[in-house]
Amino acid sequence: MNQPILAASGLSLGFDGRTVVRGLDLALDRGSVTTVIGPNGCGKSTLLKGLCRLLKPQQGRVLLEGRDIAAFPQRELALRMAVLPQTPLAPSGLTVTELVTRGRHPRQKWYQQFSVGDEAAVAAALEATDITDLSEVALEDLSGGQRQRAWISMSLAQESDLLLLDEPTTYLDLAHQVEVLELVRRLNRELGRTVVMVLHDISLAARYSDRIVAMKDGVIMAQGAPSEVVTPELLWEVFGLRAQVVTEPTEGRPHVIPLGQESVASSV
């Protein structure tokens, strides 16, 4: 099957009469990791919200497995895609297990509160994110990186094929950013999840993605493999950033070295 798992056609999104994303086309292959990059306010997060129906399209439509996303009941949508918003909020006092168990909500009914399948999925999600030891700890007592892993663990317990992450590395230090992205890679490679995420760090995006989508002012400027998209020309065009792009030695991915005023002058 070559049908994209998620596709947008002529998609325009916005709020309060304003249009943020304009007539955008996008197709995501099953089993890939796609990262959307772009300057602040370019519509990355808006696009992600539109792809998971948190925002209704002004024009165009989103197809999930070939079917218009507007036609899915909320519960069925949650069975097919797990979404982690940028700054999710949980009620205070919630423990990690309680949070992760919420991921099973679309599969639960009032008389099916915690089935054998739920128990196994929660245990597997805790295991995959390496927070089994923290399962009885309250969410507010975790470090930023641990908390982010707990949230991802919840999305994982949903057992959906698609995983949408809006800036999963915000507020994390570099080590924790890498930790989260390594987890994303493992989910993709070992569990076959299709991942779409928004990231700010272009080098990390290049390193952990199969495909980069570069956006500016609500339209896609370029998309493709990291080595095709992450170039000095594109960085200038999209971010207005003078930069050198080198090949990092471990995986041969493009790596961005921003140039300041002086280095721009000396390199010319």
């Binding site: 918003p85 999710p88 009620p91 205070s92 309680e98 009032w110 099916q112 509160q113 949903q158």
Partner: protein
């Protein structure tokens, strides 16, 4: 999991030991409170007399049967049902408003009910002597119910913004406060119209009182209340997800555009029922969900425990206010006097824990 999992075939339930323990204790306390209420709400009766009066078997004196079944039991039932309804309504309101200090009072229900009741008391009360007979037994609760539904329904309709995906909690609170202000000022105006007896009767009603409840009022309202409480049990599983942010709740498959208005509707109806039965008994809706959360140690108030605490609170408060204190008071006065310090203690305790 902080709990035991019970699985029967395809069905599975999470049982929390602490909530079960608290619930069991609350059932016991409620039974004792009901018994005490039946024994001491009036001329003290012995335990055996209450049982004889309740069972109404052959040989039971008809005066005793009348006293227990027709005079005391409706008042006890009214207190228990009103307490349960108000408490559950409070829990639902706090969840929908995303504010632990929100109460059905901000939904306009209470003020609307007061307006209806006061209108009947003042306008139909006639001259001296106040309202009595059929007007008091049927007209008053009917008017209170209509007022509650009119104002609660109005707030509900205005809070649900057309074209918007999700019910906005802030919008709901603002609309509710506006409606409450309108109803309250109309009540004040009505009070200045009537004569002193009627105004006094109205003020007693507005402080929340179980005086003179009979089956004519209590049975129809209870018949409405029980299904509402039952429905609450089924929607209880929305409450935890509803206290996440909206995007996360929807991502987890909760259709907020249906669930939140439904919860609000349920809260309005339960508050209306509770207020019709007992008047606006203050602090029950505010304190009981908070207390239920604290004693069970759960993130959202378990509705069963909340309902039981509400029932206990009102029945005990009515017994103390009406029959233990040297000067009989309406139950609402006592719940306010007791509820305020309890609320302060609960807030202080929860702050100490989080700091």
């Amino acid at each position: 999991m902080r709990g035991w999992v019970l699985r029967i075939g395809q069905a599975s339930f999470v049982l929390r030991p602490r909530a079960l323990l608290v619930g069991g204790c609350a059932v016991l306390v409620l039974l004792l409170a009901v018994l005490a209420h039946l024994m001491f709400a009036g001329r003290p009766l012995a335990f055996g007399e209450v049982l004889t009066g309740l069972s109404g078997g052959p040989g039971a004196p008809s005066r005793l049967i009348l006293q227990v079944q027709d005079f005391r039991l409706p008042r006890t039932v009214a207190g228990a049902v009103a307490g349960a309804c108000l408490a559950v309504s409070g829990a639902l309101t706090q969840n929908v408003a995303r504010n632990p200090l929100a109460t059905p009072e901000i939904l306009g229900v209470t003020a609307g009910a007061s307006l209806g009741a006061v209108a009947v008391l003042v306008l139909a009360g006639g001259g001296a002597g106040g309202l009595s007979g059929a007007a008091a037994a049927v007209g008053l609760p009917l008017a209170a119910g209509l007022g509650a539904l009119l104002f609660g329904g109005g707030v509900f309709l205005l809070a649900v913004k057309r074209g918007s995906d999700v019910l906005d909690s802030n919008r709901m609170v603002l609309v509710g406060l506006g409606a409450t202000a309108v109803a309250t000022s109309m009540v004040t105006w009505l009070l200045t119209l009537g004569d002193v007896t009627n105004a006094g009767q109205a003020l007693t009603w507005m402080s929340g009182s179980l005086n003179g409840k009979d089956w004519d009022t209590v049975s129809p309202v209870t018949v409405v209340a029980l299904p509402l409480l039952l429905i609450s049990a089924f929607v209880a599983r929305w409450l935890l997800l509803g206290s996440f942010d909206d995007n996360t709740a929807r991502s987890l498959g909760l259709p907020l555009r249906w669930t939140r208005p439904l919860l609000l509707l349920l809260a309005v109806l339960l508050a209306a029922v509770g207020t019709v039965l007992a008047g606006p008994v203050a602090f029950v809706a505010l304190v009981c969900p908070l207390a239920a959360r604290q004693v069970t140690g759960t993130v959202v108030a378990p509705l069963g425990v909340t309902a039981l605490l509400g029932a206990c609170f009102v029945v005990v408060a009515d017994l103390v206010a009406g029959f233990v204190l040297p000067q009989a008071l309406p139950v609402g006065v006592l719940t306010t006097v007791l509820g305020a310090p309890v609320l302060i203690a609960l807030v202080l305790r929860s702050q100490r824990r989080t700091s």
